[in-house]
């Protein structure tokens, strides 16, 4: 894949749910290109289709019509098996509710995706050590999820999402269950990921999460209504907000 090929590309994407009275078009003819290394936030009210969009990008749901390309490969028509493989190898997921395996320790949760992808237990363990260090939880490696705070659990989930060095990380309301301090920890990790060139698409209600992205997309009724570059466009107005200007 050459550098100018977007890492994620979507054309005419449509997703319809239900029928009769309950029929909705959750995603309505969306086009999107995410270049390698970009962080994109998608915001919008509940039910605007942003989570469905993320599920489509990650191959968790199949579109009604349209094309999805991830890392130069068309994914919307893949077999279940090929799709599962793609999710394991190329995509890292972070969910609002963490979705850790309760019976496994933090380290074992992080090792799991690497083991499922066929890596040796030793390589999986080494990778988990590095990742838990990166999210500052090396000292909690042997704890069960139930022994961790919400913020710590989400950091384990982020480490797990990175286990197989995914080409893109997809995060669905990653701070939805977190308090302010834990949110800041997650934002700090996202900022580090961004600095390392990790491509990231995050769906969020939280303006703070959205504001850390390079680019912000606003969704209403399944469609994009705004697409804004936030990076490198400082307003220089902070001083005015604390009463120090002029």
């Amino acid at each position: 894949m050459n550098e100018s090929t977007p890492l994620v590309r979507v054309r005419g994407l449509v997703k319809e749910h239900g029928d009769g009275e309950s029929w909705v078009r959750a995603v309505d003819d969306v086009d999107l290109e995410v270049p390698q290394g970009q962080t994109v936030a998608v915001m919008g009210p509940s039910g605007c289709g942003k989570s469905t969009l993320l599920h489509l990008l990650g191959g968790l749901e199949r579109p009604t019509s349209g094309e999805i390309w991830v890392a130069g490969r068309r994914t919307d028509g893949l077999s279940e098996r090929a799709l599962a493989r793609l999710r394991r190898r190329s995509i890292g997921f972070v969910f609002q509710a963490f979705h850790l395996v309760d019976e496994l320790t933090a380290a074992e949760n992080v090792e799991l995706p690497a083991l499922l992808a066929g890596r040796s237990p030793r390589a999986a363990r080494r990778r988990a050590d590095v990742l838990l260090e990166q999210v500052e939880l090396a000292d909690r490696a042997r704890h069960l999820p139930s022994e961790l705070s919400g913020g710590q659990r989400q950091r384990v989930a982020i480490a797990r999402a990175l286990a197989n060095e995914p080409q893109v990380v997809l995060a669905d309301e990653p701070t939805g269950n977190l308090d302010s301090a834990a949110t800041l920890d997650v934002l700090r990790i996202f900022a580090d990921l961004r600095a390392t060139g990790q491509t990231l698409v995050v769906v969020t209600h939280d303006e703070r999460v959205a504001a850390t992205a390079d680019r912000l997309i606003s969704m209403r009724d399944g469609m994009f209504v705004d697409d804004t570059q936030l990076a490198g466009t400082g307003t220089g107005r902070l001083g005015g907000l604390v009463g120090l200007e002029g």
Binding site: L187, A191, E207
Partner: protein, 175 residues
């Protein structure tokens, strides 16, 4: 500014440059653009008002005056610390802009909201980045958190404005 400088001086008699350094530490990124002369102008005004006195000049550095709070200054500090005034957010202008846009049809209020949201998000991004780059334990973190929370509140207000005006737009299209 006068009250803040006076209150900082209440800790102990200090040189102007010490006060300035403490002020800058407390303000973090907001302290950087502060004019170095500002503190001396403020101290001179406070001295004139009888709220501080110039105790002595440092024997080795006679150009460096040491200032101390007078009893009147102490009283003023105590009053300032317990006063419950609060800066008023200025929402009226933007609100009237939306009202005028909707009434005159010279601009789409929903578009105005979107433009304002982009602007606030860029500012929020700056505040967020400053907050993340402050060293642990920096007193300025609390100030940056305040900025972030106010911007979030403003962004939520914009969402509410958008809902109101898009509903009205839908209704007038249906009519």
């Amino acid at each position: 500014m006068q009250d803040a400088v006076l209150a900082m001086l209440a800790k102990e008699p200090s040189h102007g440059y010490e006060l300035r350094a403490r002020l800058r530490r407390s303000l973090g990124p907001f302290g950087e653009p502060m004019n170095p002369g500002q503190i001396y102008v403020t101290l001179a005004r406070l001295e004139k008002a009888g709220l501080v006195v110039c105790e002595r000049s440092d024997a080795e550095k006679p150009d460096r005056k040491v200032y101390a709070v007078t009893p009147a200054g102490q009283e003023r500090v105590a009053a300032w610390l317990t006063e419950v005034g609060w800066p008023k957010p200025d929402l009226v202008e933007f609100h009237l802009k939306l009202v005028a846009a909707a009434a005159s049809r010279l601009a789409d209020p929903v578009e105005l909201v979107a433009a304002q949201r982009r602007e606030l998000l860029r500012t929020l991004r700056e505040a967020q980045q400053s907050a993340l780059s402050e060293p642990p334990g920096s007193p300025a973190t609390a100030l940056l958190e305040g900025v972030v929370l106010r911007l979030q509140a403003d962004l939520r207000w914009l969402d509410a404005c958008e809902r109101g005006y898009s509903r009205r737009r839908d209704e007038s299209e249906d009519a």
